[in-house]
């Protein structure tokens, strides 16, 4: 099989998406994604919103609760507290673990013991009052200084499971208030999950997504009373694109190319990790499809290849399509394993077998 791969310029030297980071801080990145399709940008957005694994309190053991809040109310509040998702890849999903209910391989444990013994003022309980412990109740030691196991940028995160505290007073979210004599003794069991199951697992607070600020493509129809131009002020992103000329013809075949993305994280992982994890999750989804289609019996599939198995075509096609992508070969060595990861996808279909359920499918990805 020597059919041409898709004629969308993937073989060009400068092909592939481009990124321009405009602003960033501890939780947020504002960037322009260009030279890619709307579908890819949107799929990436959806993946980052809903399918990145993080950590959140999933079960709450109430040992004593004499506060004014009902048990389930309290449990819900505890579930929404952002917890550090550092090294989340090393934590198993509860359903994949061999333990009976939960253990240190698939859960983090947070203890909250608080009593207001003799203060007439309400005692406020914050997320900082949660203490991390192991399953059998031993306190968890923080990572040693200079610990370097996580992804780039993750090094600033506290130990996995620790509540994320970002306010000035270093208190974290308010959980509850205790009047004199009221008591709270609680053990929280935090598990790995994704926001598709419950939004408490979302690593993102919001993702701003805009394209075509001048509405040149007419993907939207602007409602107006007298004059759409006067009534719809341009967004800041409009400065990044040529305004339409007066009397310019409508290009009905034009496609969106630049996407203005404002990625705002919750703090459970740095925003660049959200991006990397989003890309990786989407790649894993695609890899699962490739695996699913390759696993299927070859019998009866008219592949038009004169008797060869479909896999031959895949391998050859993959090889020729990606073989010449040397642009990223040498120059990108600073980013280590990424190139290795490419070759795994390119020609070598054997690499996909590692997707079977391996915890770290991207062999060289993390360096």
């Amino acid at each position: 099989m020597d059919y041409e791969p898709y004629g969308n310029g993937m073989n060009d030297e400068d092909a592939g998406p481009r990124v321009t980071i405009r602003r960033s801080n501890r939780t947020t990145i504002d960037f322009v994604l260009s030279n890619t399709s709307l579908a890819l940008a949107n799929s990436l957005r959806r993946t980052m919103l809903a399918e990145i694994p993080t950590l959140a309190v999933d079960l709450v053991e109430i040992h004593a609760n004499t506060s004014v809040l009902a048990d389930e109310f309290l449990a819900h509040r505890l579930g929404l507290i952002p917890l550090s998702a550092r090294d989340i890849d090393k934590l198993l999903y509860g359903r994949d673990c061999t333990c009976d209910d939960f253990c240190d391989n698939c859960a983090c444990f947070l203890r909250l013991n608080a009593v207001n013994r003799n203060s007439d003022e309400n005692m406020k309980i914050f997320a900082r009052d949660l203490t991390l412990e192991t399953r059998d109740g031993r306190p968890v030691e923080p990572w040693p200084a200079g610990h370097n196991a996580g992804m780039d940028g993750e090094q600033e995160l506290p130990t996995r499971g620790q509540p994320i505290i970002m306010d000035e007073g270093q208190k974290g979210p308010l959980i509850c208030q205790l009047r004199k004599g009221q008591e709270l003794r609680v053990r929280c069991i935090a598990k790995k999950g994704i926001a598709k199951e419950h939004s408490k697992w979302a690593p993102t607070a919001a993702i701003g997504f805009e394209y075509d600020p001048h509405n040149k493509l007419r993907h939207t129809q602007l409602w107006y009373e007298a004059n759409a131009k006067e009534e719809w002020p341009l967004t800041a992103n409009a400065d990044w694109e040529e305004p339409p000329q007066e009397g310019q013809r409508f290009e009905y075949e034009a496609e969106p190319d630049s996407f203005y993305i404002n990625l705002e994280g919750t703090g459970v992982m740095p925003p660049d990790s959200v991006m990397h994890n989003g890309i990786r999750t989407l790649q894993e989804k695609l890899a699962n499809v490739i695996k699913g289609l390759s696993d299927e019996g070859d019998a009866g599939v008219p592949n038009g290849m004169g008797g060869g198995s479909p896999m031959d075509g895949v391998m050859n096609g993959g090889g020729t399509a990606y073989g010449n992508q040397t642009a990223y070969g040498g120059g990108m060595s600073a980013y280590g394993g990424g190139v290795g990861g490419q070759s795994a996808y390119g020609g070598n279909m054997g690499a996909f077998s590692s997707y079977g359920g391996a915890a770290t499918p991207y062999g060289g990805y993390r360096g």
């Binding site: 993937m10 399709s37 989407l282 499809v289 289609l293 895949v314």
Partner: protein, 171 residues
């Protein structure tokens, strides 16, 4: 001591006869059969848990024996096939569709979510015969993985540059 399942708690396949975590112990399995409004079912066991909203993990976890992709060749049209993707949604559907329609060998590509309550989408692909629909889909997936890999590297490059230049950020 009582377990309080957080809303949307994960149901673990409990071992040793325990009620699954996340189910409610006060939910009687017979209550429906006592309801006179249910005709013809009196005396039969009705699973009241079936009336509860489905567990959210059903959106993304394949059931036992369920395949990620089901492939069905189209008999009436040459070089056409229908793929059924289980536990997937528009994220993958639109992405694959958009990639496939750009291929010169693909004559038709479209996707559909038959019902919004079921995490399934169907992708129909017709090619010109040079490649089989299955190959076209696999190829599209590979190219997307590739494209995402380039994006990842581009992003890392930009991020490192930004870190060197700005020493943190200025949002």
């Amino acid at each position: 001591m009582a377990y309080e399942p957080v809303f949307g708690a994960l149901t673990i396949h409990a071992k040793g006869g325990k009620a699954p975590v996340g189910s409610w112990s006060n939910a009687s399995r017979y209550s429906c059969s006592l309801d006179p409004r249910i005709n013809g079912n009196v005396g039969t066991k009705i699973d009241v848990l079936a009336d509860l909203p489905p567990d959210r993990y059903e959106l993304f976890l394949l059931e036992d024996g369920e395949k990620k992709v089901e492939f069905e060749p189209e008999t009436r049209v040459p070089h056409a096939a229908m793929f059924t993707f289980n536990k997937e949604d528009h994220t993958l559907g639109n992405l694959l569709r958009a990639k496939l329609v750009k291929s010169e060998h693909v004559v038709f590509a479209g996707y559909q979510v038959p019902h919004p309550l079921f995490a399934v989408f169907k992708l129909r692909v017709q090619t010109d015969g040079e490649v089989s629909p299955k190959e076209a889909v696999v190829q599209a997936c590979q190219e997307l993985v590739k494209e995402l890999q380039i994006l990842d590297q581009e992003f890392t490059k930009e991020w490192e540059l930004k870190k060197i230049a700005g020493g943190g950020g200025d949002l």
